[in-house]
Symmetry: C2
Subunit: 358 residues, 2 copies
């Protein structure tokens, strides 16, 4: 870092309310840039459902190569009511994750003061953990096929493909992250060792082997089914969790709910040696599109994670403080249409607090 | 039915607190039998961790054939701290489910009055749905293997195997169940169509094909990740859910939590043409073993489901009323050691109310 630093960001606003929330996210990022003395060089990509319906193209030829020239990617939401589910997700979102080898999906689950959680008797001191989800293997690898499709004898196979290489780098990332986070220094492997005895044997073996290199980190194991129960009953038990792609998908959505929902939850698709992508985890919410009522905080938090990843820690912290202030002192609810403010007003509030400091 | 009816029940108390909770369950079943004029012919099987450690045997030779001679199976809990996780689950619990072709796992998620739920603003009128989980296929089929095990190039594959036959019979069961239940008449398919495009293509196709035969049932689809959020935020949206083995495992545990936890949640492993097995869904809870503090209500509810399955609906209803009465008027909590009563006292209370009627 130093004066004059510029980050080249690929912005993919995407579908539905994606562009609205990204607009507010950019507003806040610009406020932080101004205050903390860096520059954002933003390049917009119109990938998503509209373009697909118009041209038949999801990611145009050379698009992935284009992304690789950026320092990070800032994504709104992908998903269009007129496109069959699966197409845009697979050909845009998952394709970027896989081709840029963003092998970690990082999902902080943190309840901010003033945010309503649907679970009883738990506050910000109880809900503060991070899920490290493997992001390039498992059931998401696309393995499988049909036999005798469309007949009464049809068989459909879906394969979870796990490699030592992929599992180990994910687990290592989680141990390093846990050490750096420096909270409870506890890493929990979440799996299903008692039934999925191939995949989880590899995970478990790798986990305990790598653990030997991290004697300062306490290790723990929990079945995925029990983990869902504890998220709701004892979220304070967790510090950092590492799990596979599919289980990670499930538990991070549950995590999003207990931290206040889609209005606030953000994630990073990380390639520590490459280009990472940051996104609010909610969908494109077509029914709220263009109404200026959607909550932009999740997109703002994704931007905050992006700055942290780029090394702008002070700026990230300033945004977090601003978000907390807005949650605590302004918003009536995090739900679309019930905030007591419009989308752009929320963006303005956070941008102002980010600019001035709280 | 008619006077003189006798049910031959295989009882597998199992490990840990299994025998304690089954004892109370049997007490209640006997009270119901006496009042409603049927007889129970109970046959005990000592399968579980103790026997395995002593003899190396999980299910002895001929054991499965023996079970087939019964009208139903009543199971406590399988799982022993000194046995490596996976062995007893696979060789006893999953083996019975598979070999007796208990292709449905039926899990009512019902919050009884007076029971504490960890989620806010929801009561018994909101939490009342049933999960129909496929119980003999998917990731539980045991498909998969290793390549180059133990090397840096290791690959571990875990296969989800889904057949039209298996998926269709499960979906049909769910539609029939939803019709018979006659509440909201809404059946929700829970899956991951946007990513697991082989398995869930088969499920989705089959679902909408079978749906044509049930024009009185409203159909809906939800991704498994979103479903977990809604269980916590909007459980009232659900009536009957149908899903595969792995997702069913996960969402039913979350369901158990919102209905009050392991102290109350029970399930049935159903073969509509064969022998079905009923179990509390909690584990063997080794740390509470022999202390007379574990909550037996889940085992009692499993017994209630068994009677309902056997056609003793009146008796089942009497037990349910007794359980509700005990939850509402007696227990301080459903958690082990915090009930304000011992295990056997809770059994006595429910048995008495079942005998006298509430
Ligand atoms: C949209 C979908 C493909 C995606 C996933 O399953 O990974 C989403 O649920 C997520 O968690 O980012
Ligand atoms: C004990 C285990 C094998 C089992 C399962 O995964 O099915 C349990 O979690 C259940 O849901 O009955």
């Amino acid at each position: 870092m130093g004066e004059g630093r510029t980050y080249k960001i690929a912005v993919i606003p995407g579908d539905g309310t994606g562009p609205e929330v990204i607009r507010e996210g950019v507003k806040v990022l610009q406020a932080a840039a101004e205050r903390f003395g860096f520059k954002l060089d933003l390049h917009y990509f119109d990938w998503g459902g509209e373009r697909y319906l118009r041209t038949g193209e999801t990611i145009p030829e050379g698009g992935i190569e284009e992304l690789k020239k950026h320092d990070a990617i800032y994504l709104g939401a992908i998903g269009h009511p007129e496109v069959k589910p699966g197409i845009l997700e697979k050909e845009i979102l998952l394709r970027i994750r896989f081709e840029l080898d963003q092998y970690i999906n990082l999902r902080p689950v943190k309840l901010y003061p003033g945010v309503w959680t649907p679970i009883k008797d738990k506050g910000p001191e109880d809900i503060d953990f991070v899920v490290v989800r493997e992001n390039t293997e498992g059931l998401y690898a696309g393995g499988g096929g049909f036999l005798r499709k469309g007949t009464p004898q049809e068989v459909a196979i879906q394969e979870s493909i796990n490699t030592r290489f992929g599992v180990e780098r994910c687990i290592r990332f989680a141990f390093e992250y846990c050490r750096k986070r420096n909270k409870k220094k506890k890493l929990t492997l979440v799996g299903k060792t008692n039934v999925l005895t191939y995949a989880w044997d590899l995970w478990e073996r790798t986990f305990y082997e790598v653990a030997k290199e991290y004697p300062d980190i306490e290790t723990d194991y929990a079945h995925v089914d029990a983990t869902c129960m504890w998220f709701v009953k004892n979220p304070e038990w967790f510090d950092v969790i590492v799990t596979d792609n599919m289980f990670g998908d499930i538990i991070t959505d549950l995590g999003a709910m207990i931290q206040g929902g889609m209005g606030i939850a953000a994630g990073g698709n990380i390639n520590p040696q490459g280009v990472s992508m940051f996104e609010p985890i909610g969908g494109s919410a077509p029914k709220y599109t263009g109404k200026n009522v959607i909550n932009p905080l999740a997109a703002i938090c994704a931007g905050m994670m992006m700055l942290e990843h780029l090394g702008e820690e002070e700026a990230a912290q300033a945004i977090e403080k601003a978000v907390i202030k807005v949650c605590r002192d302004h918003l009536k609810s995090l739900s679309a249409g019930k905030m007591g403010y419009t989308t752009s007003e929320v963006g303005d509030l956070v941008a102002n607090y980010t600019a001035k400091g709280v």
